[in-house]
């Protein structure tokens, strides 16, 4: 069998350690070894964004990232988006604006949107479009997602 390497990192604020198989990507690592099932597999090619997570605050495609490369780094997934039972303003806006249908692209879409709002609290519509440009949705036609992200930005109390 392949060599397995210990990886220590922060997942949604808490220290985690697990073994990664050689060549295992971050998506497989999070889902199979760590047990965070919220990032989704859509293509394994970097083409759909369903696996988007934040690494040190920046969006990354976990299917194209070597698991061991997050050693000592800060990883965020949608599992850590809500504050306890209180949904993140993005989650609230997605629910209100019917911005999800099958819900499979939603975790990646939300993390791409969070990356945007963390850096640009009041984005323009074009900035939102740019921010989710790498995230495919086959159901919604994008309009409700864009509207939800803009609504979340306007609702969000300045951090």
């Amino acid at each position: 069998m392949m060599a397995r390497k210990p990886v220590t990192f922060t997942l949604n604020g808490s220290e985690r350690a697990a073994f990664a198989a050689d060549g295992q990507n971050l998506l497989q690592f999070l889902r199979q070894e760590v047990g965070d099932m919220t990032p989704k597999f859509g293509c394994g090619q970097g083409g759909c964004g369903a696996c988007t997570v934040l690494v040190d605050g920046a969006p990354h495609l976990s299917c194209l990232m070597l698991a061991e490369a997050v050693q000592g780094r800060r990883v965020e997934t949608v599992a850590g988006l809500a504050r306890g039972a209180t949904p993140h303003p993005l989650q609230e806006a997605f629910m209100e604006h019917f911005a999800a249908q099958c819900g499979y692209c939603t975790p990646g879409m939300l993390m791409a949107a969070k990356a945007l709002l963390d850096r640009t609290p009041r984005p323009t519509r074009d900035e939102v479009i740019e921010a989710i440009g790498g995230n495919l949705c086959r159901c919604t036609g994008y309009a409700p997602i864009i509207d939800a992200i803009l609504a979340a930005a306007n609702r969000r109390t300045p951090a």
Binding site: Q45, G47, Q101, I129, E130, I132, G141
Partner: protein, 340 residues
């Protein structure tokens, strides 16, 4: 270079559900002791909102708040048979099965309430807020919770119901094609405005004006999801998508989303939707099912708009810049029609 604008129109209808071999779906409804209801289905929610629309249908039929109903799908050990989620059949077929099951459960709930209130069940109505009372006498009432508790703990009744809806098999005459294909039809009309670059053949979809008739809109939010997303898919089919760019040749088939093209968030056009609601006589509360038909008018409307803009007929999908450019070359230049 020149950009040419054109408008194209299309109108369609859409048959709801399938008929081959008969088209059945079943539902089971039962209440907890406290009057909260579960709906068991083996139907599939693949984003269209099956769980949500059947939940509303059950709540409306039972006469309880929608929060008091939860739809569980799909487990073959607990959910009764359903053909599946395709052919725009879900809302219509499963919805009708849920109504039948919920009616049976409601009847038991009202009998239980009648026994508690010592009145005739036929005189009882629900207020949709969790109460059952005598028609015209709101003071003589009992909560659905109390009624269901009484049914289970004092009266020994199961507040439950079974439902099935079947569109029977349609025979097809081999010689004439005579058949009963479906039970009802949804309708749509669409006008698309495009802009065509006569030097590159690139087509931009600028605006969509549509009218969709889909029976009663059981949940306007779910309807909007289907129509907005479906029209996007129609755009996509019209001018982007193909698994075989050289059909019937099999070369250059896309193997990823970089080469399988779909319009991105930067390509979408404003879509102005009007919804018409002509209830289907046999639909759940008149509902039909907008899930599939929403994409269909966009394909021809885009092709007709391209013709209107530059005079090029694209009769082979998708409408690629190359096909448009070749067409313009063949005409010796763009020939705007301006017919709409």
């Amino acid at each position: 270079m020149a950009l040419h604008r054109g408008r194209g129109f299309a109108a369609i209808n859409y048959p709801i559900g399938m008929n081959l071999g008969g088209d059945p779906s079943q539902a089971l409804v039962h209440s907890n002791p406290d009057g909260k209801f579960s709906v068991a289905l083996s139907s599939i929610d693949l984003g269209q909102g099956m769980k949500s629309v059947t939940r509303q249908i059950a709540a409306e039929t039972l006469g309880v708040p929608v929060e008091d109903v939860y739809v569980d799908t799909a487990d073959s050990d607990t959910g009764p048979h359903c053909m599946g989620s395709f052919a725009s059949r879900g809302t219509h077929r499963v919805g009708n099965a849920v109504i039948q099951a919920a009616q049976e459960a409601r009847a038991v709930m009202l009998e239980a309430a009648a026994e508690e209130l010592e009145v005739d069940a036929a005189d009882l109505v629900t207020d949709g807020r969790g109460n059952i009372h005598v028609r015209g006498a709101p003071s003589r009432s009992i909560t659905t919770m109390a009624a269901c508790q009484a049914a289970q703990f004092r009266q020994g009744r199961t507040v439950s119901g079974r439902g099935i809806f079947l569109i029977p098999l349609s025979e097809v005459d081999p010689d004439t094609g005579e058949m009963t294909p479906v039970s009802c039809f949804a309708h749509a009309a669409m006008l698309v405005e495009v802009e065509v670059d006569d030097e590159t053949g690139e087509v931009r979809i600028l605006d969509m004006q549509s009218a969709y008739e889909l029976g009663r809109a059981l949940n306007p939010g779910l309807v909007e999801q289907q129509l907005v997303g479906g029209a996007w898919m129609g755009m996509s089919h019209a001018a982007w998508e193909t698994t075989e760019p050289r059909y019937p040749d099999r070369s250059h088939g896309p193997v990823d989303f970089n080469s399988y093209l779909m319009p991105g968030p930067g390509d979408i056009a404003p879509h102005h939707i009007s919804v018409l609601e002509r209830p289907a006589p046999d639909g759940p509360f008149g509902g039909k099912g907008p899930g599939e038909m929403c994409a269909n008018p966009v394909l021809p409307a885009v092709c007709n708009a391209v013709y209107d803009a530059v005079g090029v007929r694209i009769d082979e999908l998708p409408v690629t810049p190359e096909k448009v450019l070749r067409g313009i070359r063949a005409l010796g230049g763009a020939r705007p029609r301006g017919r709409l």
